[in-house]
Symmetry: C2
Subunit: 251 residues, 2 copies
């Protein structure tokens, strides 16, 4: 269950930092979190925001620190992970337009998780104080925040259920089914992240993920490096027994 902590291979790289007002923020504006907010309030958030580009494996935040910024993944991928002594475990893999550390920012309490980039990634960083300020003044933003948090809360509940009620290989099988849906239900697709990260997210040792992928050969899956082919979806579903209240049907 526990993986040894990896050190970042890239230290002290100065990420490029661009003031938000200089860039196109139409896309950000359309995110559910900001869609209904008043324009003046949105400008307030944007005023102090920065879009930063980070290389892969860069630690973005560390658990225990107080939040300075709300983070939004613009492109790339981010891993949220928790540590205990020198073990760590992945709690979530975040893709574009996901926000993170919203709960810590709103409560102004220390981060419970650390975060690192999994690939070259651009992050929009909005000053925490501005978020809390607009949150107080703008009811639409407050409501959107609730909706976002409730959504995240439900994701965590599903994760916990899966972790406690299924075996590792079952979690893997369901993960592959979900991934296939995301990729437009095609039979063949690539794993979007490294296997060791996936293993950590699924709560298993990397060695066991390897073995589990081999085992799924018996259940309609073919694996070649990071290329997954689902040969017999019905068979895989029969093995995985996906369940709507665990396997995330909601957006």
């Amino acid at each position: 269950m526990t993986n040894v902590k990896r050190e970042a291979t890239v230290d002290m790289v100065q990420p490029r930092s661009i003031p938000m007002r200089d860039i196109d923020h139409k896309h950000i504006r359309t995110l559910p979190l900001f869609a209904d907010i008043a324009s003046t309030r949105f400008d307030e958030l944007v005023a102090g925001a920065f879009l930063q580009r980070f290389p892969a494996r860069m630690e973005l935040i560390r658990e225990g620190d107080l939040p300075d910024f709300l983070h939004i993944v613009v492109d790339g991928a981010v891993e949220l992970f928790g540590t205990l002594e020198d073990s760590e475990t992945a709690l979530a893999i975040l893709k574009p337009s996901a926000t993170f550390v919203l709960a810590a920012v709103i409560r102004d309490e220390v981060y419970l998780t650390s975060a690192r980039t999994l690939q070259a990634t651009r992050i929009l960083m909005i000053p925490a104080a501005a978020v809390r300020d607009v949150f107080i003044k703008d009811a639409a933003f407050a409501r959107a925040t609730v909706s976002e948090l409730a959504h995240r809360y439900r994701d965590l509940v599903r994760d916990i259920k899966g972790n406690k009620l299924r075996t590792g290989i079952e979690r893997l099988a369901n993960y592959l089914l979900r991934l296939q849906e995301e990729r437009g239900a095609k039979g063949q697709f690539e794993l979007p992240i490294e296997k060791r990260t996936l293993a950590s997210y699924l709560g298993m040792a990397p060695e066991n993920l390897s073995r589990a992928l081999v085992q799924l050969g018996e259940h309609g899956v073919e694996v070649k490096a990071s290329k997954i082919t689902i040969i017999d979806k019905a068979r895989l579903r029969r093995f995985a027994r996906p369940q709507p209240l665990i396997d995330a049907p909601d957006a």
Copy 2:
């Protein structure tokens, strides 16, 4: 990790139901969720609310159903649990003044968890539609909801970290330390819930909880039935290695 589902022993008991307007709601009014809400809005919530008394082991809600009410534990205790086929696992143990299914009510989506009473319990039930309505109209309530949800979210994150990074006996040791703090740091206290429920919450089989309690005899704990005595707290802490970012220092 999985426990066989228990059937409720009490069926079809008609719980006593009392319209909220007839009872004392000063206490409810002071909960963080309602403290800053406008009086007229609070009356709106209370208008359709009911205080119901349930016997032990009564199923209150079932995962997959749509939310009719926001629930608040007035006294007694409630278990939130998730099921998969005929296994189940406890996700949370709720004590007085805890609210539950807030996320489902706000998003108007199906419950992800079921709930049952662990003892005779009174629950305040506020119609879901009223909650959503006031949530839209009252910014203070919206903000309080965020704070509550963010708090719950963080509790779940801590649970996941503990589940993935510690062994069962370590989770137990830390649970006992936390319980002792709640009970005013006295050396002796009672387990507040049945051991089988505790086992499920801690993610272990009831048999293993028994054995784990015996093992903790080596680490400063004495157990007699449900009476726990912490003989040597320093020793127990040395074994448990509690960690603030997992073991809930925040309210």
